[in-house]
Assembly symmetry: C2
Amino acid sequence: MANVSIKDLGKHAGEEVTLRGWLYNKRHKGKLQFILLRDGSGTAQCVAFRGNVGDELFDRLDRLGQESSLTVTGTVKEDKRSPGGYEIDVTGAEIIQESGEYPITPKEHGVDFLLRHRHLWLRSNKQVAVMRIRDRLVRAIREFLADDGFINVDTPIFTPAACEGTTTLFELKYFDEMAYLTQSGQLYNEATAMAHGKVYCFGPTFRAERSKTRKHLTEFWMVEPEVMFADLDDIMELTERFVTAIVKEVLEHCRGELEVLERDVSKLEGIEPPFPRISYTDAVGMLKKGGHNFEWGGDFGAPDETLIGESFERPVLVHRYPKAVKAFYMEPDPDDERIALCVDMIAPEGYGEIIGGGQRTASLEYLEKQIDAHGLPHEAFEWYKDLRRYGSVYHSGFGLGIERTVAWLCGSKHIRECTAFPRMLYKIYP
Amino acid sequence: MANVSIKDLGKHAGEEVTLRGWLYNKRHKGKLQFILLRDGSGTAQCVAFRGNVGDELFDRLDRLGQESSLTVTGTVKEDKRSPGGYEIDVTGAEIIQESGEYPITPKEHGVDFLLRHRHLWLRSNKQVAVMRIRDRLVRAIREFLADDGFINVDTPIFTPAACEGTTTLFELKYFDEMAYLTQSGQLYNEATAMAHGKVYCFGPTFRAERSKTRKHLTEFWMVEPEVMFADLDDIMELTERFVTAIVKEVLEHCRGELEVLERDVSKLEGIEPPFPRISYTDAVGMLKKGGHNFEWGGDFGAPDETLIGESFERPVLVHRYPKAVKAFYMEPDPDDERIALCVDMIAPEGYGEIIGGGQRTASLEYLEKQIDAHGLPHEAFEWYKDLRRYGSVYHSGFGLGIERTVAWLCGSKHIRECTAFPRMLYKIYP
């Protein structure tokens, strides 16, 4: 008997096949048992008739607990009412392991309980859908960048210095020195982009933030493209093309998953260029008009981002923030030196900032001033200054947070469900 | 004037274009100057004739230091002797930044010097070639796995417990607790594979090894596929298909890069299934015959791996090691309980182990014994034991080290050149 994946059942209509998986759910109706079997590739309804499988197996299946592992053999029949459009007319089954009382039942559980059982919770159909959307998002990102001529160059996790201040850094002993875990691969990207023209890094980044919001993880993945000979306008145009393409790919390949999550896909179908573009100064005007107590010069908080994002049906590009609230390496605006040539992309529907980026200064003199102004140690940045000593050119880049983007695509209120094993304040198990 | 990438010159033959990049090298011959310009996408020879560009620009170009940034305008001419097959008949140029004395000159430098200048060394043509091969390898890996039905699920970097002993772990303070940096995503993969059937994680892993060999980094990337309902034979067959496919992709797309590295590609062209398979016990016999002082029961050292690997022209699968030298979660051989159902793949030409994997135990009872035998804390593995309580099935997986595979493909003696910013004992800058 051929072992078949549930996703391939359509190729085997009328044949007898064997499925291998786990009992997701079941119900009993007289001499019939309806077993929902999942195998990771999909879920299939398997119908066992007492007369066909015999009393012993029928009763054993009847007692079988959720998430027991088993193989089911039977004939593939087309059935429009079944998930996937096919069901199995069971002729036999072999139980591999009878599960004990499975902790996660169809009833409602609290989030703390579910997070403690994350290794099992991941099997639930909504969690499976989120991880599949994340997988497709990662593929779409890498395919877009490769097609666009970018080279993937991984940047280091262990770094000798902080990129954006030291208060939120994880520190550790690295043999006889101290080291920090990376918060961004950007500084290193600038070096590799000078070798390859267009590069991206894509890996985990770390922030030791003592905040317990629904938008923060201590460990999250970020993709960071960097382009030589690109200015702020070039990079805004790139973010727009990039986000449009990855949303389209997810919509094309993850309809079923978005349905499981009850996501209103019409909100995503409208994501097309051009994205609205407003200056920070205009955004401050919007906030004041919306009743927020906000003064020019400050950084946006989550409620501010929500107001700005909800004002548009597409992601909005907010550009030209005060340089005081941005990182030290930003190029100043030639028209107003208080302002940095930077851009954040804020997702619609209140999902907040998903992209931060901008133009990096090409000037060694300005960079040195900024290192002083931010109180950063010059020794740690000598190599970075070399990038301005040898063939400096204007260049720009951005970072897109994966979990926040997954949250937006999936319509998840909390990013803790957008990564397999979320790491948060005081939460490191399992 | 259109800005053009050097890789696209062939599409613009006869046209006047502008290139933007860095001076890689130049030579002067009477009234002609031959400028080798690189822009990250490739290198182009630009020929400036004094009569065409004028004395002032000609002399300025003549004084220009290595890695100065500039734009060059000129007509694209086919020329078989030029790198890429085209050269530029220069009509104008604009110098963006004149570099000071560039530290890395065409003369030989010591490795310590080069590593201290890694941010600049990455621009050298051999280093560019290695990073492009790495980029293509990563793409090939992800494409193979996606086509084969695998879902990419990222596993955490912060972990509460060690997977293979604690002596080589990086430890850090995680708020009020201690945490370790991951050495492998495998335990977590087993949980996500029970949700998705076939998964892989692909990220950085960490070993605090106080060794200074040419095969060790403290931070390296690993791809780890995990498959439910797969036994040792299934996973050996998968490693064989996988390695064959990724070598083919690199050969297909990176001919030019392999040539820059003077790699003998005939060694890679022969990589085809079937790969030789020998048991650990047979390998011990080979070592004894080869004059190594080696007793059954020990783990192979680098010279042992070299002897084994060099005995074959293809990667060799060495299976069924003594369980004492392998991780606690390995399934024991039903025919000999001293032996684990595991496999290592050793690359030819002395490049050593590139894959480690095997079948994981499905038995809770055996797992608990092993946790005791290895002196590991039960609390930290309660979640992992749950995977044997709820729907346990046989399953297998493996990990492939990216830098070691890049070293093999590139013919690099030392893996420190196979990652952009290598992290080694006492080496964390730049």
